[in-house]
Symmetry: C2
Subunit: 469 residues, 2 copies
């Protein structure tokens, strides 16, 4: 039995290996050769820069739901057409409209002085004058007894740390997301935080917050880093009264658009390699690194691929309203979940315009040969294969959670949170040469993925929780 069982197992093993061998995804050598030329062409091109310059200059800041949102949509439609995309269309995305009208902060009393702050997206308006209670981090606020901050302003004074992968945004972004609700629960009348930022300028960092169900929202704002330093010093000197006056809040609904451009596939036009970034930005800067660059990089990458007549369709999506809750990505996932298998692989650029240093993918073992080929084509750009490091970025997350395969081209984010969501996110912060490297990386990844002779594992699955960027 033993012998005959072994024979059977051996036979099965041989059969499976044969089957797997048949399914192993690889990329034709001719495509790999084309990709090397594409890479050099992209490195020498300023197309990504020109697109990013055009968006950030001609549209400027483009808060979701603002007058500039509509101008951004019109800009993206026109730009796709101008770049020669085969098909350009829009798909509606509806969300609650949040507006910022004015915001002021000041220390009252003997040390009277202005504080540079900005309302968090989703904050209600309101004017509060109250004493500040400082907490070094979110855990300290959460540990305060319920009701202990009655009539006070909670101030969470955590300083985010720099990291290439931006990993401490876990803390900075976590305070922004969960701090206001924690403050309400303790009885606070307003919430202040040290900006989730890593520089030291008078440019407070905004970003979305959300109050938990059943809690009455309170004015919530972020101080610039030097202002947080100052407030911490003043609180250490004695009781400190602060006035926070925010005029902002939700005002009905708005319908924006995901703007989509396609380079039609020459052999498998119904299979799609999806790349993109988000079209909206916060209102203080001009959304250069967040995420004008992502739009510029991916629009340029597909345009540079077009003359190569890619086998599969390249679809570039400029997503609507990422900033206030991934609305564009979620609308896209809802519409296209039924087609998840037709989404060959996806990659989003939404982590700035730093040098791309790492490559990873969700691709299962059978697609590793193709992934390895892509990694080799990226290596001359200084990009390392970093298995297990990657993560689908922002808008594509809703569909990758439902089974879409993804690639990750990791930007160096060491300085990303110097500029993220503040007024300093402007074009001058982007290095055109580094941006060209980004475009080259996206072009190589996208083209080679489109030419593969097998899939990367996209298949429908139940939604799973994911972390939010």
């Amino acid at each position: 039995m033993r012998f005959s069982l072994s024979i059977a197992a051996l036979a099965l093993s041989v059969a499976c290996s044969a089957a797997l061998a048949q399914q192993r995804t690889t990329i034709p050598a001719s495509a790999v050769a084309e990709a090397a030329k594409l890479r050099e062409k992209a490195l020498a091109s300023d197309l990504g820069w020109k697109i990013t310059e055009s968006l950030t200059t001609e549209v400027g800041p483009r808060l979701a739901g603002s007058e500039a949102d509509a101008r951004a949509v019109a800009w993206a439609v026109a730009k796709f057409k101008q770049l020669g995309y085969d098909k350009v269309w829009t798909e509606p995305v509806t969300f609650p409209k949040w507006v910022r009208r004015s915001e002021h902060g000041e220390v009252l009393g003997a040390h009277s002085q202005k504080l540079y702050l900005t309302a968090l997206g989703g904050s209600p308006g309101g004017t509060v004058e109250a004493e500040v209670v400082r907490f070094p981090d979110l855990a300290a606020l959460q540990a305060a007894p319920d009701g202990s901050l009655a009539g006070k302003i909670a101030f969470v004074d955590y300083q985010m740390k720099k990291a290439q992968d931006g990993s401490d945004y876990r803390n900075g972004g976590g305070i922004r997301g969960r701090g206001p609700s924690a403050a309400v629960r303790k009885g606070a009348v307003a919430f202040l935080m040290r900006s989730a930022g890593t520089e030291s300028h008078r440019t407070p960092h905004t970003g979305a917050t959300r109050f938990e169900e059943g809690l009455k929202p309170i004015p919530a704002a972020a101080l610039s880093i030097p202002d947080a330093d100052q407030l911490a010093r003043l609180v250490a000197l004695g009781p400190t009264q602060v006035r926070v006056a925010l005029d902002c809040g939700y005002d009905g609904e708005y319908t924006s658009q995901n703007v989509i451009g396609e380079i039609r596939g020459s052999k498998k036009p119904d299979e799609v390699v999806l790349i993109g970034g988000h079209l909206d930005s916060w209102d203080h800067g001009t959304g250069a690194i967040d995420d004008g660059a992502g739009v510029g990089i991916t629009m340029a990458a597909a345009a540079l691929i077009k003359p190569l007549k890619p086998a599969r369709t390249i679809r570039v999506v400029a997503f609507a309203n990422e900033e206030q809750g991934l609305f564009g990505g979620r609308a896209y996932a809802e519409k296209y979940f039924k087609d998840v298998e037709k989404h060959h692989i996806a990659a989003e650029s939404d982590f700035g315009a730093g040098r791309i240093y790492g490559f990873d993918s969700s691709a299962p073992d059978f697609a590793k040969p193709a992934i390895e080929q892509i990694a080799q084509a990226l290596a001359p750009l200084g990009i390392e294969r970093l298995p297990g490091k990657g993560d689908p970025e922002s808008d594509i997350g809703a569909l990758t959670a439902r089974g879409m395969a993804w690639g990750w081209l990791g930007h160096d984010g060491t300085d990303y949170f110097d500029l993220h969501h503040n007024a300093d996110d402007t074009l001058d912060k982007i290095d055109p040469k580094v941006l060209a490297q980004n475009v080259a990386a996206y072009a190589v990844f996208t083209y080679l993925s489109a030419q593969s002779d097998g899939g990367f594992g996209s298949a429908p699955k139940e939604a799973e929780p994911r972390r939010q960027r």
Copy 2:
């Protein structure tokens, strides 16, 4: 004749040399030995930092004529007393009061977006909507035909360059001072300039301007560097309308105070070594490098000297309203011109808190031995004797122009114009260790000057024109 003349000249020369030898100013060896100990003590002290921290935190921004001006005066009086100065008093300084209430800028039309700008001190209020005409520098504006800018906004787009000695402030500050009047003469309805700054943040640099007699002032403002970049790009794309709305202007007079503290001289109490900085600041930052540091450095230096019982009196002046026209320095000069010979030597710290790298003095040849001794005592701090490089700084200029001898302790100003007159001039920009080096330099210079056995050449003279910092 020739021979006898030569004999006479030789005789005169010998006589003069003898006289000069008698008058040569030197410093006793015991004082030089004390100075070395003082230097090390100052390097190890955080007193300068503590004073600067106290002023910038507890008073914060202190625009001349504002509510905070009075708080700054009270702070300085209290701080001198707390530091154990022997005599503390104030002297009135009256000036036109300029107030900033609000300021807004925006691009109108298809590329509608906010512009970060700030009114120049001295600008009138007003709201203007007009087309922008860009000039690369002041000379280009000056070369435009009179009346050619009727109904337009003049935009001078000169980018200041970094320099250790801040020398390109000649251009940046020159545009701020003379640009608005030039714009009026060409018919412009408003004046915009690229900030006189060397960074790239959304923090516009303010500073005083002055309209020439007989010209009708127009709203005048500085754009942040990224906003100047943006406006230049937009103007290059086509006619660009901008709205500038300033609510600011002169509002009567205000009387502030020069605040003066003295360490009384043990041997020649009526002879004064004068050091100081200015107490006022612009309103956006907290006046840390301009000029909280100067106040902190000089207050600390004299306090550290006190236990040594200096031979001459050390007088520290915290000057009123330097920023809007050297009012404190001019009031001081007017009051004390009659005592110019009693002002042994003076040095002001008003160029930030960078490492002091150079030393110079107006002292004539007969005082060179003492100057050389001071230079040797400063050398261990990394300070080089740089004959001909120095310049009396800001407030003491009115009295040095009338014959007061001066010393110069030159701060490295490479980054000074990153922060000068903008919101980012905050305490975090000062390195406490470098500030201690500054204090040590001032302490050594001040103490050795006070101990010299002769003068540094102070003697009344007619006023001469000087350049304004």
